[in-house]
């Protein structure tokens, strides 16, 4: 459905995204994840045809975004980071305007607008001026705009920002009701949202993809390693040198009197580490095996890359 190939975008001499490639198949719900400035919004803007990449190509349904922009845009509903709403219009007039822009036939316009209003629970404010609405309601108007005309593809840039908890739950329900008939790409910083909504996550950091897997696969691929946090009373260095002898230990970080050990997951290995520390006589105070959840995977994947790039953004 969507095929992104070697996408690169430079703003001046700043690289926002760097040879990004991925595919999204029909009916999939994909979450874009990444720290601030990773390039999520930039990638989305390029897919929607809002701007051109420096190099690379995007195909939607076999059509190149830059050769058939109008056809491609017809298939996409897009919610940008800042909801694109006109303050001096009423919600319902704005949505009618959007449906004309999107070429919804006149006969079905009213029902298209009504269904978008219903999906985003805007019934109570439909006659109000958009400039007088709260931020969350503006966000919902922006979302209703993206849903108008029932596009096959929805690209939602941080759709739940500014929504209240009830609306966040509504949003999740909405996305799961759209699942199957629509292909959805959404970006977020909120990990539970990805867990609740998405079939697959694409983690972007510094303009490159660091992971693109289903949630289960991601947990699996990371489960080969485990992290152990150890607190000792003295002689950290000695403990470290002892532990580093154990087979399977990949990485040890000293943090005050703490050791963060990363190693391949095996009970023998963990046992050996424990033995080594006790034998080193540095006074074991705490020994904790940290489970690998999504949040950790995220932090690990995104921080690894950062340090490998010299720690500068």
């Amino acid at each position: 459905m969507i095929e992104v190939k070697n996408l690169t975008k430079n703003y001046g001499d700043r690289k926002a995204i760097d040879t990004l490639s991925f595919k999204v198949s029909k009916g999939e719900v994909v979450g874009f994840l990444g720290p601030n400035g990773a390039g999520k919004s930039t990638t989305m803007k390029i897919i929607t045809g809002y701007m051109a990449p420096t190099s690379g190509s995007v195909e939607v349904d076999g059509l190149d975004v830059f050769e058939d922009p109008v056809e491609v845009k017809r298939k996409i509903g897009y919610l940008p980071e800042i909801p694109p709403v006109y303050g001096d219009m009423r919600v319902i007039d704005f949505l009618k305007f959007c449906s004309r822009l999107k070429g919804v036939p006149g006969k079905t316009m009213n029902s298209a607008v009504a269904s978008a209003i219903e999906k985003t629970s805007l019934q109570d404010v439909q006659k109000r001026m958009i400039q007088n609405l709260s931020k969350g309601y503006k966000q919902r108007v922006g979302l209703a705009q993206a849903l108008i005309g029932d596009p096959e593809i929805l690209i939602l840039d941080e759709p739940t920002v500014g929504l209240d908890p009830t609306q966040v739950v509504e949003m999740r329900k909405l996305i799961s009701s759209l699942r199957g008939n629509h292909t959805i790409i959404l970006s977020t910083h909120i990990l539970p949202e990805v867990q609740a909504n998405c079939d697959r996550i694409i983690i972007i950091n510094n303009g490159s993809i660091v992971a693109s897997e289903t949630l289960a696969d991601l947990a699996q691929s990371q489960s080969g390693t485990c992290r152990i946090g150890v607190q000792v009373a003295r002689d950290v260095e000695k403990a470290k040198s002892k532990v580093s002898l154990v087979e399977g230990v990949k990485h040890i970080l000293i943090n005050g009197m703490r050791l963060d050990i990363e190693m391949s997951h095996s009970s023998e290995g963990i046992e050996a580490v424990a033995t080594q520390i006790v034998e080193s006589g540095s006074g074991l105070l705490e020994f904790r095996i940290e489970s690998s959840n999504l949040e950790e995977i995220f932090i690990k994947l995104t921080s690894e890359k950062e340090t490998s790039m010299g720690g500068v953004q």
Binding site: Y50, M51, Y78, P80, P84, V85, Y86, D88, L101, G103
Partner: protein, 253 residues
């Protein structure tokens, strides 16, 4: 087409309901009423004097022409204010994202925006037309030159709008768009003034030809010349085209 008219209608509504439109059309009415009534009385007095001497006077050249020149002068300053928000504000408020990701072309956006301001400008021209129409109740005059003058004025306004739109397309600051629009429109007027300074007859003829003022005079005189209409329409097309290029190119930045 429908999308283009949707943009035109939306912008037209938001423009004519904005306070700035009320202020400008209010000032416009006051100024025109004041000068028009003075000119009519002046004209009545003179025509009486001249009628004693057995001469006729032409109401078109002595009243309408100066009325329309004043309208033109006001449009010169008012149109950039009408066009300033057209694209600059879309960019600033990020609603430009909506236009650029909708299944419409840059041409439709540019023409829609042009139509919107043109319709608002027509409101001003309708106000300006009330004065000669009112005069028709108690005076007899030939309609030809008046109609041709209004066609000329509408075309001239079209040029101002296209220029103002172009100014609005290159910046995201509304104030800068208005200022730039005014400067460009004034420079456009003064291109033709080069004619007076040139000795070379060829050059002078050229300047006279590209002078928007000269072209407008021919409309005022009641001669609806095809070349003048074509000149005006091409100037409009040129600036709408430039706007379209800028809108299109925003994808490449």
């Amino acid at each position: 087409m429908r999308a283009m008219f949707a943009i035109a209608w939306k912008d037209f509504r938001s423009l004519v309901s904005s306070p700035i439109f009320f202020v400008i059309s209010g000032l416009f009415c006051c100024l025109l009423s004041f000068t028009y009534i003075r000119q009519i009385f002046d004209f009545a007095r003179r025509s009486m004097v001249l009628a004693h001497q057995g001469q006729g006077v032409n109401i078109h050249m002595s009243v309408f022409a100066s009325h329309l020149s004043l309208v033109n002068l006001i449009l010169l300053l008012a149109i950039p204010v009408f066009t300033m928000r057209a694209l600059a504000e879309e960019k600033k408020m990020r609603t430009y994202d909506l236009l650029l990701t909708s299944p419409i072309t840059a041409t439709q956006i540019s023409f829609g925006k042009f139509l919107a301001v043109f319709m608002s400008g027509m409101v001003l021209l309708l106000i300006a037309a009330i004065y000669p129409l009112g005069t028709a109740l108690f005076a007899d005059f030939s309609w030809g030159p008046l109609i041709s003058s209004f066609i000329g004025l509408a075309l001239l306004m079209g040029i101002y709008i296209a220029i103002g739109l172009f100014a609005s397309s290159v910046t995201s600051s509304v104030i800068l768009a208005a200022f730039l629009g005014m400067v460009l429109i004034l420079s456009f007027w003064f291109i033709g003034q080069g004619a007076g300074f040139s000795d070379d007859p060829v050059l002078s003829a050229f300047f006279e030809h590209v002078s928007v003022g000269q072209q407008f005079v021919s409309f005022l005189q009641g001669t609806l010349k095809l070349t003048a209409v074509v000149y005006m329409l091409s100037a409009i097309a040129l600036f709408v085209f430039l706007t379209q290029r800028v809108v299109e190119s925003s994808r490449w930045r």
